[in-house]
Symmetry: C2
Subunit: 405 residues, 2 copies
């Protein structure tokens, strides 16, 4: 009988090389790429090895079931589902996403090893395209099956090489015409628990290994386009220039200044310059804004102020996504905190598939595992193995408790 | 007998589709790519069609000779060479480079049609990699054969996909071990005349179609790296961030401010953000600076002031290239201006292979053809056909005059 530690180490070692950037140890695991296919194959293999039934929903999310999920629906005791995602931001860390899936499998192993027999179906889910690194919309997999992202909008999204999501799915061997809200899948989920590495310093400050999630801040993404006039950098007088880089500089600075004023988080982390040549004044600069905060009113006021700044440079800004504040199930959070030695209950600024499911009316909770660097979306992201194993144990405890409801 | 206009139109139409970006009508013709190969094939075909002898030098630059260039050397009457380049900046215009080569071929046609027999060799040259769009060093082809760019440095340059120039040449079917200073080629060039579309508004203001070049401003390229700390955009407090985008914004603004103060041209036209994700604070921003001016002392003072700005953000800046002020041959410029109805004599801020050859001690002149938009390195770059044909006639006049020296 393998221990949870051995099982955790093995799964971790299997995932480690997939999509790893040797230059910095970060990960490049984007939706519908060969790396994504390798991760899906790994998930399917782990499901099969455990005798779980593998299904794929209308957005390509993978579900591994212990027990018949439709029997759970028929008995009005739908499944307890654990899971997260396997994709990454560019050069992201190893924990954001995979920790939740590995921990789910290891928690199931621990329950089986002690002879546990589930009295309702238990599932593990791998949500696709959570980071939105390729097509710009975060949590695309969960948004599509809940209807928050209509299929036609999703399929028309394009990556930086102008490949549509529709074409990407087809090239990956999928069927884009399948996409859409998936009632059959949703009704199988009685409760969803997403375990995730913490993406801040809350547990460091509290000196605790595991927390329960309370809420996800409202957050959104905007794209802004700043027009300019392409010209030769060596022959165009300064006074004759219309250089959109100067507008970009102003937008970056005002993003920080206005975020401080409104008490929100505002980030300009992505930029595309056309044509991006040393000796050419750019014809256009496109930037992206990420904005979040505890209060949606302040976030919106911040974005409106920035919209004025962009407009003042002759540019335009449009919303690419917006997720309302998500209050995870309060009674469930309190119950989990009680089960887990009065674990702290914390909100997060990061979006998660858990938030999408909660907004779709599914009873949802989150568990956070301490991150000693406090850093995420970076190779520096980390969780100590001892803390990870406490996260696994917490998941097993929660499943046992929920399964007898 | 075809007229110069028909010949010009035909050559123009042949080049038009190669490397054209249908999205904006600009060109993407980068060194050692399939587009570059197509352009080289076109050049070779035009040389062959005219019965010219085609040679390729140690940097892959193509030379088409009317008359034996080595006989010219033996008789101490080395060749009169016309030409320019066929590569482009990203989304560059159709005229920057190709106009000089098409005009050279059409000028030769015009001379032949009137029964002209050259009394010294006449050449047309296609310099490779003039824009430096792929490997960062402008005029790489002429710098390599004159020794201004040592072969080992050139071969180690990498493009944005980390492909070295050495690998790129090999993939294009060339032999990178050939690269180096090419005495045999250089001594064949008695005088070099580069015709080029004007990249400013000098001829518009003067209401003249053609000018003679006097000097090329000193100019250079620098790369600056601004370090940051990658982190999650949704969970990292503003006060805890080390966001290199803010440093970039400051460098962009100071580039303009200091350029105004020092009376030089300074441009930040190229930026790379790592990892360039909407929801990630960047780990690093790299930018490039293009700096030029009439006086090298002011350009250097400007760059030093900007180096302090970059250093103040914990970043570093290093020179990628520097070209001293180039005074084209004054007596030759005056002679050409006299031949061409007292054409105006103008300096330029743009670098050219003509400048590299002049700095290598070759007698060199430039002709500029009016650009009614004043815009270059952009699809808006233009020259009216009537002005282009006046440029062709000017080249023919100059060749006849120089050939009897």
């Amino acid at each position: 009988m393998t221990t949870a530690q051995e099982s955790f180490d093995r799964l971790w070692a299997e995932l480690e090389p997939i999509g790893r950037n040797p230059a910095n140890g970060g990960y490049r695991r984007f939706a519908w790429t060969p790396e994504d296919a390798a991760l899906r194959e790994w998930f399917a293999g782990e499901a099969t090895a455990r005798g779980l039934d593998l299904t794929t929903d209308r957005a390509g999310n993978q579900w591994a079931w212990w027990g018949d999920p439709d029997e759970g629906v028929a008995q009005e005791r739908p499944g307890v589902v654990l899971g997260s995602h396997l994709d990454s931001v560019p050069d992201g860390g190893a924990f954001d996403g995979p920790l939740g899936i590995i921990s789910a499998f290891v928690a199931l192993d621990a329950l089986r090893d002690k002879g546990y027999q589930p009295s309702r179906p238990i599932g593990v889910v791998n949500f696709g395209d959570e980071e939105g690194a390729r097509f710009g919309i975060a949590c695309a997999g969960s948004r599509i099956i809940t209807g928050a992202l209509p299929a036609d909008q999703a399929l028309a999204l394009t990556d930086s090489d102008a490949v549509s999501m529709s074409a990407a799915i087809r090239r990956a061997g999928g069927d884009p015409s399948e996409l859409g809200r998936d009632e059959e899948t949703l009704r199988r989920v009685g409760v969803f628990i997403e375990l995730h590495v913490e993406q801040g310093r809350g547990l460091i400050d509290l000196d605790r290994p595991v927390a329960v999630g309370s809420a996800i801040w409202p957050h959104g993404r905007w794209r802004f386009d700043l027009p300019g006039k392409a010209n030769h950098a060596g022959t165009t007088r300064l006074a004759d220039r219309h250089d959109p880089m100067l507008a970009l500089a102003d937008v970056i600075q005002q993003t920080r200044g206005l975020a401080e004023r409104f008490g929100v988080l505002g980030t300009c982390g992505k930029v595309q310059v056309e044509p991006n040549a040393v000796n050419a004044i750019p014809s256009r600069v496109t930037g992206w804004l990420d904005a979040r905060g505890a209060d949606p009113g302040y976030v919106q006021a911040f974005v409106e102020a920035l919209d004025d700044v962009v407009g003042g440079h002759g540019g335009s800004m449009r919303q690419e996504s917006w997720t309302h504040e998500t209050l995870l199930d309060l009674a469930l959070a309190e119950r989990l905190a009680g089960l887990l030695s009065d674990a702290p209950v914390l909100p997060t600024g990061a979006g998660h598939d858990a938030g999408i499911l909660a907004n779709a009316g599914i009873r949802t909770a989150m568990l956070f595992v301490r991150n000693p660097t406090g850093v995420s979306h970076s190779p520096a992201e980390h969780a100590d193995r001892d803390d990870c194993l406490l996260g696994v144990a917490a998941l097993a405890t929660v499943v046992e408790d929920l399964a007898v409801e």
